[in-house]
Amino acid sequence: MAAGEAAVDDGVMLVALLVATLRAAAPLILAATGELVTERAGVLNLGVEGMMLVGAVVGFAATITTGSHWLGLLAAMAAGMAMAGIFAALTLGLRANQVASGLALTIFGVGFSALFGAPFQSHPIPGLATVIFPNLAAASPFMQQLLLLDPLVWLALAAPFAVQRFLARSRAGLVLRAVGESAEVAHSFGYAVIRIRLAATLFGGAMAGLAGVSLSLAYTPMWTENMVAGRGWIALALVVFSTWKPHFVTLGALLFGFVTIAGFQANAWGIPVAPNLLATLPYLATILVLVLISRDRLRLKLNAPASLGKPFHPV
């Protein structure tokens, strides 16, 4: 310990822990918030992982081609929406099974992103934080930490508030929830069920694309095959974990991020915890919370959209 004491400022360490947690949680929050809106409209899209990968690779490619990170973000949202569009065409248009179509979308996204991304593998680019603050490497350790909070992190923190407000307070939000609860009733009131579900699905796609590109442009600025590494599935789990409430998505993602990062911190601080145990902690925490939630069956039933995953046949 003696050699390290002088160099380590506990304050910086604490801020670093917070910042690292936020950065790890941001992609999860973005993807899960999008999927939450999709599911609240009654559509279960299991293709989040695939949409994230395609968003990551298209955004990265667009950034390299145009030289602008901002255009890269837009391209990633468009790519995510295009992927969600395919899903919508299958499930809303042709009324294909949502679970199967979602899984197919993920498999397609994994393959397509690998194929499309092959020429872009060897392009190092500056991260979003460095683009905004070019002198990042020269800043003091404390400032460096704060500057690493790029706009996507702030967006991820704000998104659940906006979505919560939309779902609870706006007319459009209430209609969207009605469609998710009972498509037949919403239809009989004259709402365009398919069109509303399409919009919700596309929103989920755009957010997944943004989540993916936050990995390839901000968190680890590079493209490598399969770089999303299962975060799409964690985002899906977070939606259930949150019982379809946006603020709990943030909470869950922060908890997941914190447990992951705290594991590293324990390693680095020399707290003797076995690495295998640390690696399982985030998942143990997830299981624990899911068990606690499902104990309260009424609550789960009240919050889960009643017609989730059910195709709608207008009569």
Binding site: A20, A24, Q121, P124, G127, A129, L136, A229, G270, P272
Partner: protein, 355 residues
Amino acid sequence: MLSRRSLLLAPAAAALAARDAAAAGPLKVAFVYVSPVGDAGWTFQHELGRRALDAAMGNAVKTSFVENVEEGADAERVIRKLATDGNDLIFTTSFGYMNPTLKVAGQFPKLKFEHATGYKRAANLATYSARFYEGRYATGVLAGRMSKSGIAGYVAAFPIPEVLQGINAFTLGMRSVNPKAQVRVVWTSSWFDPGKERAGADTLIAGGADILTHHTDSTAVAQAGEEKGVLTVAYNSDQSKYGPKTCLTAVTHNWNDYYVGRVKAVIAGTWKSGDLWGGVKEGMTKLAPYGAAVPDAVRKEVDAKLAAIGAGTLKPFAGPLSGQDGKPKVAAGHAMTDKEIGEMNWFVDGVQGKI
């Protein structure tokens, strides 16, 4: 009678077989890769070896590869497919292919197989690996000279002997020039997860480490160092383009000579099963070109250590060595044997972390 005849015929048959192979057209050589080829990393180094084979042997060989093959049931299917496709020699380049390779090798006794980093062999299945730790020791010396805080960070995947050898050798090298140096280890529990590697690197930097290295497969650590102005020593491949200012060098694997040598042996009919654990001496472990940040004196010192390791005069795991708790582990005058190194499951003094 029969035995004498077969004895007499054996050398002639071998010569004939060798000629047959040459006459039948190019030798077909296949490679199985665990991840996409990409442009850096474990698989990329094997791919460089395959390309070197093409360049060296020209029309005498026909090489092919299958990338991104998962370790497990799928690997067996891929290896068997390559065997039935008429390949003469098949290299399977990841530890997890060990049992599938052994199984398929048993079913195709006339074909030759080589498995990287494994320990199960057969008459037609050889194994090979590299002493990565030799390069690690040299970069530890480099880290000891370049670090101001005396704290290095190590992003590692799994606590298996191959990884522990690297961490220990790096620490011993660093402590050979800075006895107070500390190496802090974080575990990602994954060979490839850029996000986790990045988070691990960020944590180590925040904790005061001013030089980082890694035993994982992505370029995330080199990039984290470049973004934050922290020095790095990369692994697997030269990653200087990911850290033009901060990446000092990389411990790289070099299979080129081995692959060319083994293929020549097959063509000449002299190929035999066996195990090669090569290092600096065999050219299997090398350092990538130094970055501009490394002063000339340090380059010379590290090169000299590497040369001494290659010559066998410097043994990274020669005693006296003490464990993490400060208690003696290896007595003075004893250098750890290959078997002991291969089974390493402890940290040397100076490593901060837990297995």
